[in-house]
């Protein structure tokens, strides 16, 4: 009985009906995901519809979110399982079907590649001014509260606290320093304005924050907006408070305090990831078509320096020509400040090769399939002619 049940499950898993239903569900998800992008932004829509097992939605009158639709990840898994089962079940050494078999194996790899991307891809950026040397990447979405020991101008010690750890009431001690930061209030996104006469007093009693009014704002929804992450923090060291400070990505002026002869700088900024090598922007070029603002090309000439590996070389990064180094790809993404600032998008995706492999497999499969079809057609025609 169990064997019969298992064999029925197996054939159901491998059946064409499952393929078709999964494909139709995938189509519906793609449509929903596309339409949702106007509201949620690309990343939000993809996370809701494509990278989730189930699409949840809050309905009126029900206090908890309801599962509304199978998510892209679930449909993808079903599709991969279905394809794999079908490939195993129907595998036979029939040259007429071998090409299609290879094509479908390639398809599995393609879906696997998208799973790998969803799970492992990290997008960061590197902004460099001409002549500047940079050894870190910046996150697009995550912020960090940085406390830097700037006592020695030649050597700065930095401690970054990611925004995920910044919650009101948290007390974060910085390892290697006598400092503890008390978070009094945290805003993922906020609007900052100069404090008017009638406004209640600011929580901050030190630094520029005393004159600023902070209002909580909804987190950025579209891809174009960036959260103005802000917080009121109180550094404490050796039982002594150094006052309450406002830190925000919207504040540019440096805010420092001195504890036992050491100067500490407080700042809220995009989260940084340090690299074991440096990149120097030697030159940025940007041309427009004559008499228009239509960009013709951008390129950054950078110098890559990695003493650990003894590498010192110049690289030209331009449109459609990224630098692939250290498991990351550096793309020319944007520019600013009258063409003296270059912004590189830095992507690390361990699965980046999968789509290429998949394409190669699929192409091979199609070539085999059509080659065999053509060969058979010619043979049939020859046989027909021979008979006539």
């Amino acid at each position: 009985l169990i064997r019969r049940f298992a064999s029925r499950c197996w054939s159901a898993l491998a059946s064409l009906q499952v393929t078709i239903v999964a494909l139709i569900l995938l189509m519906a998800l793609v449509v929903l995901c596309t339409l949702a992008q106007t509201e949620l932004g690309t990343l939000g829509a993809v996370n809701t519809y494509m990278r989730s097992m189930v699409v949840w939605r809050r309905l009126q009158g029900i206090p908890f979110p309801m599962p509304l639709f199978p998510g892209g990840a679930l449909v993808g898994l079903v599709l991969v399982a279905n394809l794999t089962a079908a490939l195993i079940r129907r595998f036979e050494f029939n040259p007429r079907k071998f090409g299609l078999w290879v094509v479908h194996a390639g398809l599995i790899l393609l879906v696997a590649g998208e799973f790998a991307t969803g799970a492992f891809q990290v997008d960061t950026r590197m902004s460099i001014n001409v002549g500047e040397t940079v050894n870190y990447l910046e996150s697009y979405h995550q912020m960090e509260l940085a406390v830097s020991d700037v006592t020695d101008p030649a050597h700065t010690e930095e401690y970054g606290i990611p925004d995920s750890k910044l919650k009101a009431g948290a007390a974060i001690s910085l390892p290697g320093t006598p400092l503890t930061l008390k978070v009094k209030r945290f805003y993922l996104n906020a609007e900052l304005a100069p404090r008017a006469d009638g406004d209640p007093p600011s929580m901050a009693d030190r630094g520029v924050g005393a004159g600023v009014k902070v209002t909580e704002a909804a987190p950025a929804a579209s891809d174009k907006e960036v959260n103005a992450t802000s917080a009121f923090v109180e550094p404490v060291a050796g039982g002594r408070s150094y006052g309450t400070w406002l830190v925000s990505t919207m504040l540019g002026a440096p805010q420092t305090f001195i504890h036992e002869g050491r100067t500490y700088l407080l700042s809220m900024r995009a989260r940084r990831y340090y690299l074991p090598y440096t990149v120097t922007l030697k030159q940025f070029s940007h041309d427009s078509y004559a008499g228009t603002d239509i960009p013709k090309n951008f390129s950054s000439l950078v110098h890559l320096s990695n003493p650990a590996r003894g590498e010192e070389r110049d690289v030209l990064i331009y449109m459609n020509q990224p630098l692939r180094y250290d498991g990351k790809a550096f793309y020319q993404a944007s520019y600013g400040k009258g063409d003296t600032l270059s912004i590189l998008q830095v992507v690390s995706n361990p699965g980046w090769l999968l789509p290429y492999l998949s394409c190669a497999l699929i192409t091979l499969g199609l070539l085999i399939h059509f080659g065999i079809t053509l060969f058979n057609a010619i043979k049939r025609r020859q046989v027909a002619e021979g008979a006539a």
Binding site: L16, L23, D123, A290, T292, K296, N320, N349, P355, I362
Partner: protein, 584 residues
């Protein structure tokens, strides 16, 4: 036998002869060699083009047509641009602004009537109001604007374009270029020259010897550069053209034009050669003619179902072939003129989708010879060229490519494959529509023909899946090369994926025998909806990396198209002649 064969090809040859006749240059009008003036190369929108192209594109944007009927005759684009440049008071009286929106008309105190065309002089008293309404609306995203707001922004943009053109060679309210040359060096002149340099739409003066190829100047810049010293010779020729036209002295005008061309020929011969080729392309309007020829082929084919099928069916095919030849020539000319693969923007994708569908249809007709290939090819060609014709209203169709798109390799592989995928999906849909109409209209159904139609659709869907899949994957590779991700769920990518998925679903349903003849056909018609959405619909969302061509008015056209396809799917699934009273 030979004579009948000749007769078969005669209609096509006649059509081609008629096409060639349009290539003959027009004569002088009132003694002015306007054609020669239209050949003057200028730099506009980042590329060298003849002034004739500037005039045609501007007229298409402002008036939606390439000519202006005025005082009992049709002004061509060259004559119109001459009036705009040198006789603005005459141009202001010509009815060139097409306004359809009743609220915009109401803003100017006008009632909606049969006359949709208004002159600048009519609009001028309301400029302030239009400008302030447009500025208020421009703050909104295109999708958020009301119909009125879109219409008023559109009118304002056309007024700005018209104003730029009027102030491109000389200021519209000035006595002319001669007076400007005489005033060189005076303090008031400098301000006027600066205004002229800022507003000019195009740069008409070629780079001086020794300057770079991009150093074209407009008259304002050239006057500023001259300072109080002697102006460059081209400016003097241009002043002669201006004065000759204004004073109705054709000899002076023609001499000025000849001098200007002589100067350009010395300094930039390649610019003049390019302008001359483009003029020929402009004059023949291969895509417009192609559209007319496809209609002719379709009508002939319809005729063949009523009378002398043996004669008219081959005749229709020969006319279709002539249309395809004109279409192909136009496509190749664009490739050569632009130095780019065939598809670079939405407009050229429409031209190419139609072309690929026509070629596929011709192949089908040669394989099956039932007349259906001709019908399908001619309707596909006609429909896509109509779409292209409307897309041409957005401006220069040979615009420059933005940096990220500037890759001939990927344009030639990814874009062409995806577009062929669109073509094939549409073609399958059109065959299915032909099947549906035939099912309900034809007095008798010949099973062999039905079988042929089903085979054709199945084959084309396979073809469509292959090309749309390959194209989509190549697009992924391009995206990985330039943006750092293979797949980003961008709306246009999703659109392409939908086509791939739909074609895959059709084929898997067919292989599993879940759909037969009727189901296959209904699915193929649904493919039209999917393709139209992914081709145009995603551009209307106004988001994503591919939304280069946003369209306001196309929304309703698309909605109607989808509704019509839904009706056709219903018809396809209904039993044959379900409305007719059962005789049995």
């Amino acid at each position: 036998m030979r004579i009948s064969k000749l007769f078969t090809w005669l209609p096509g040859l006649l059509v081609l002869a008629a096409v060639l006749a349009t290539a003959v240059p027009p004569g002088r009008i009132r003694g002015f060699d306007m054609d020669a003036f239209g050949r003057t190369p200028v730099l506009e929108g980042g590329r060298i083009k003849p002034l004739d192209s500037v005039a045609r594109n501007a007229l298409l944007m402002i008036r939606s047509k390439q000519g202006v009927p005025f005082e009992g005759r049709e002004l061509g684009p060259d004559e119109w641009i001459l009036d705009v440049l040198f006789r603005p008071e005459a141009a202001d009286a010509q009815p060139v602004f097409v306004i359809n929106d009743p609220d915009v008309l109401g803003l100017m105190g006008l009632k909606q009537s049969a006359n949709r065309y208004f002159s600048f002089a009519t609009i001028e008293p309301h400029l302030q109001e239009i400008a302030s309404q447009a500025r208020a609306a421009e703050g909104l995203e295109s999708v958020q604007r009301s119909r009125f707001q879109n219409a008023v922004v559109n009118l304002f943009q056309r007024l700005v374009l018209y104003n730029q053109l009027e102030n491109s060679v000389q200021l519209a309210d000035s006595p002319g270029l001669y007076a400007e040359l005489q005033a060189l060096g005076t303090p008031e002149a400098v301000q006027r020259q600066k205004n002229l340099a800022d507003t000019a739409r195009f740069r008409i003066l070629p780079p001086l010897p020794g300057q770079s190829g991009d150093a074209w100047q407009n008259t304002g810049e050239a006057l500023l550069a001259a300072g109080s010293s002697a102006p460059q010779p081209a400016l003097i020729s241009l002043a002669l053209v201006s004065a000759g036209y204004k004073a109705a002295q054709p000899e002076a005008f023609n001499r000025g034009v000849a001098e200007l061309q002589g100067l350009t020929a010395n300094i930039r011969p390649q610019a003049l050669r390019h302008a001359n080729s483009e003029i020929l392309f402009n004059r023949i309007q291969p895509f417009y003619l192609g559209m007319v020829i496809y209609v002719l082929a379709l009508l002939t084919l319809f005729g063949s179902w009523l009378w002398r099928r043996d004669l008219l069916q081959p005749a229709a095919f020969s006319i279709l072939a002539a249309g395809a030849l004109v279409h192909t020539t136009g496509l190749v000319s664009r490739i050569i003129l632009q130095g780019r693969p065939p598809v670079t923007n939405l407009y050229s994708s429409a031209v190419f989708v139609g072309w690929a569908a026509v070629i596929l249809g011709i192949i089908l007709e040669r394989m099956y010879r039932k007349g259906f290939g001709t019908a399908v090819a001619a309707s596909a060609g006609f429909a896509s060229l109509i779409v292209a014709h409307h897309l041409a209203m957005e401006g220069d169709t040979m615009e420059m490519m933005r940096a990220v798109l500037d890759s001939n390799f990927w344009l030639a592989t990814h874009v062409v494959s995806v577009t062929i995928g669109y073509s094939a999906t549409f073609l399958a849909g059109i065959i299915a529509i032909a099947y549906t109409l035939r099912k309900h209209i034809a007095p008798e159904l010949d099973p062999a023909t039905t079988r042929t139609l089903v085979d054709m659709t199945y084959g084309i869907v396979c073809f469509a899946l292959l090309f749309s899949f390959v194209g989509t994957v190549l697009g992924g590779i391009w995206a990985d090369q330039s943006w750092g991700r293979f797949w980003g769920w961008d709306p246009k990518e999703n659109g392409a994926l939908l086509i791939v998925l739909w074609n895959a679903i059709i084929l898997h349903c067919r292989w599993g025998d879940y759909i037969r003849e009727k189901g296959l056909m209904a699915c193929a018609i649904f493919g039209n909806i999917i393709t139209s959405l992914s081709w145009f619909g995603v551009n209307m969302l106004g988001i994503g990396l591919h939304s280069y061509g946003f369209m306001d008015q196309a929304f309703w056209a698309l909605a109607w198209f989808i509704a019509s396809q839904a009706v056709l799917i219903g018809l396809c699934l209904m039993p044959r002649r379900f409305w007719a009273p059962r005789t049995n």
